[in-house]
Symmetry: D2
Subunit: 308 residues, 4 copies
């Protein structure tokens, strides 16, 4: 990357097969289990020549990375999204000389069992839960691991205990202060683990995920909110407080506005115990983002999770 | 519509405000309740002039229909999607002379409570369930009601008890017969109620929905499938058998193919108790659709639920 | 469908492979041509047994219908979406005894050539146009043809010559009358051809599509609008007036509201020659739909193009 | 951010109103002009307290940032997406003491005029072009500017002049080498300008965008491709070579696979001058990404444009 004779030089680059939809079903007698993943591979390393001259001598085809995903799902099983990513990343970096770094991203879709009537035998019918999508990202450079887990599209709402007051007013401010508003958001979260080294004991990825998700939900539910920023900080801080394996949390929370509808023109007071009516708006929306770090840890999750 | 002097005459027409996102929250002490709907209004009647000459003398603005949705959510509450649609449809047809028919469509999004720690008081935090979207359509012409309920995006999978054999082969057939395949689909269903008249007792819309959804799930789970058509018929028939209030069911089931991956090139046998690996494909997909009717009833749900 | 011994009987049903993404490239010397389609097959006929008992004896697999789409693209070429649909529908109905009716739906994506520099030879680079999606639907029952063509996602806007006044006011009306508004919509249109019989001369499908699209655009642009209904009627009537091959038009026009923003709180008058500022809203939106028929023709396009 | 008494400390954070859909129409006589943007504001600075204690004393509401977007569209006009972003970013940083950095993101949708018949007067009807979405991002910290422009969803295809050979084979490789394949991608591109200082002359943002897009298209069309990486490098290098105002380009190119369908089972040779037939696949897809830098410049565009 230091070729001084070219006006245009190559910077960071990566390639691989994205969105391999791999499903693994284990059939232990009548009770089956399912893992449903969307796996994306990105490799980088000694790849100048394929960009400059088109020589593919160092290029493992993206088609091969796809085959590897499916073969590994059979060979190694899918214990967890993170463990599966670790198997894949290690393989690409250690088996291919020109590959210096591998990043495996996984989306996971949860299924639950369909409750059947007594007469029916077996446990092999499932319905997709459809709530949040679980996320995992594993990066390996041959020496250190970075594991970032997370979730997206976890939509939550508090119907009270939220106010917004005492803010800056300038000449473009028209918003009225409020002591009562609906607070709703769709949580996008990433959290980075301390674990970086094969010699350290690995976290229990499955348990860690379930507990972390519960902390997000409970911190949201139990915080009396003075601002969405404060709620967000509490969500991240609760994870740091309770999950020792996690070093850093990144949250991106759209403020899904629920506007109390003005029904006065129709002689209706839109409030009271018997209910209030809101318009759930699409766009624009507030977007509140922050990193919450364990004291003394470095911030490594990129600040912009969303696209340019 | 019988103007014989024009080369181009008006046929069926309708108008209204679509996708009103109305949320109603009731706050009975510390325990709150939420209803989250997307409501679309379509009116028709004596509307030739607005099309031919642009005279709006018979046109209630779509903006007014929007206001009515929000005002009615306050005035009448939202007991169920169907009941809310009935209030609205009756209002438009009976209060506006030129409106001869109203059709109200509703999508409903389900929320469940967030379980909080003991120390926390109150029941006012929710997480969106995220599974299927509930549907309701109410049509009223001043005399008769038609109520069609349903759901979409209910994704289900059987990991065994599905085969596909004995089909027609022609010169374009390459598919191999199978005695074991994954059967997965995303259920889109509509069901029409017998109820058409204010003098008849109304079904319990909420209970009916929950039970009907369970019948769909259980029929899917408990059928040993020889074809997706057969599974689909059983799903509809189970509703007809168990839910007396329902006259007709329409189902549209995409066959979400899970292809068993050929791992032989890598020396792996992709089968056995310890698991098999599948590629979940996007497109193309089989699409299997049918109406299942109570014997003696008329088929009134349109055959094509999907767009041209 | 007249089995009186069953409580649940089969009504209308159909099946096939949906969304076959077929691309055909012809390479006449250095100038290449591309056709890019999404083809869905739906077959119906003597299919009771597969639903009732699971016997596939009458079932041509959806996989075979997929193979046929790709093989026919090679064998017959893709002269137009409509002509391709005719080849396929005829094949399924005439070659398979149990198939009594075939419906082929096509989406078509348009490409244009990339203009290259003089030094470059050949015409084999394309960029997707990305404007509307063209639609075609061909139905055949062994005797009669029905061809419905159309388009979707053609977004248009008039920045003047639109007003909305003289409408009904009721107790829920708050909208102010206006003599100047932005009129914007995303056109979804279907039009049915007179052609039903192999002995009649076939329309020139490609020319017909291009001209019909131009009529939609020009009628929208040239109508001084008193209501979106009136504009819609003019769009349909212009097709009927100019395209003799077309019997019937169905239009579905969302009113993509552009709200003039109130800037008075900031001491700004939001109007004048130098420009006005609008908020382009997402939901809710007005939805205006109608059939416009050639006088004396029957209305056969279903009224509800959108999903329940 | 160095509070050592808390276990969980605040890292990078930002907030603002996202996706303000602002449309500005200028009406110079009968010829109108339209600018159609989606504007997102993100502010950061002295914001610890709102996260830690919920004090909003330093918080300009996101609602105010929305109002500012609409007011500025009126006050300053929208000369270009970039210039509009510069007005906004400067305002937030210079008018609000606690705001130290503003980042404005813009999506722009292009419209073209509808050609009307001779009899029609005026130029105030538009149809959305629907091809690529233009992107701009402006960041300001009170001293330095960073402007990154770009585009997404520009779908291109070469029907010849593409091969893929000479790559690494391992035990998971099954791909066959090819001397002829369809090469298709959907271009996502970002490019950063040298301009950082108000005292430097500003680029002509509109001209720069048009020319840069043309270079992307022509480099794609005119490159005989040995790999998508090589084509990608040429696309970036062509911009660096021809557009002096640009320091750095980031490209993300999904390999939209067009698989030549095996028609041998049907006795058809799928090749030849009269055309070949392809299946356009959705997932998985190759994903090829790189930064191409002007020699001597720093790489500042984040490597991962896509979400975790």
């Amino acid at each position: 990357m230091t070729d001084t004779s070219r006006p245009a030089v190559l910077g960071q680059n990566q390639y691989g097969k994205a969105e391999n939809r791999v499903v693994r079903i284990t059939r232990n007698g009548a009770t089956h289990h399912i893992k449903d993943l969307n796996v994306s591979v990105a490799l980088s390393g000694d790849m100048e020549e394929v960009h400059y001259s088109g020589s593919n001598a160092n290029v493992l085809p993206t088609d091969t990375t796809k085959n590897t995903v499916f073969a590994f799902a059979k060979e190694h099983g899918i214990e967890s999204a993170e463990q599966f990513g670790i198997h894949l990343a290690r393989h690409f970096v250690t088996s291919q000389e020109p590959v210096h770094r591998a990043r495996i991203r996984v989306e996971e879709y949860a299924w639950e069992r369909i409750a059947t009537s007594d007469a029916h035998e077996g446990e092999h019918s499932f319905v997709r839960r459809g709530q949040e999508t679980r996320l995992a990202q594993v990066t390996y450079d041959g020496e250190r691991w970075e594991v970032v887990s997370g979730l997206k599209d976890l939509t939550v709402l508090n119907s009270t205990d939220s106010e917004f007051r005492g803010y800056v007013k300038d000449r473009y401010t028209t918003l009225q202060e409020t002591r009562g508003r609906v607070l709703a958001t769709s949580v996008a979260a990433r959290w980075r683990f301390h674990w970086t080294d094969d010699r350290q004991p690995m976290p229990d990825w499955e348990t860690s995920y379930e507990r972390t998700k519960q902390h997000l939900l409970q911190a949201f539910a139990e915080t009396y909110s003075l601002s969405l920023q404060q709620t967000m900080y509490r969500m991240g801080a609760r994870i740091i407080d309770h999950r020792d394996e996690i070093a850093e949390v990144r949250l991106s929370l759209p403020n899904r506005h629920h506007f109390q509808v003005d029904l006065e023109p129709f002689g209706l007071e839109n409030d009271g115990e018997d209910g209030a009516v809101y318009l759930a708006a699409d766009r624009p929306y507030g977007l509140i983002e922050a990193t919450i770090l364990r004291n003394g840890c470095e911030a490594l999750i990129p600040a912009d999770l969303t696209n340019l």
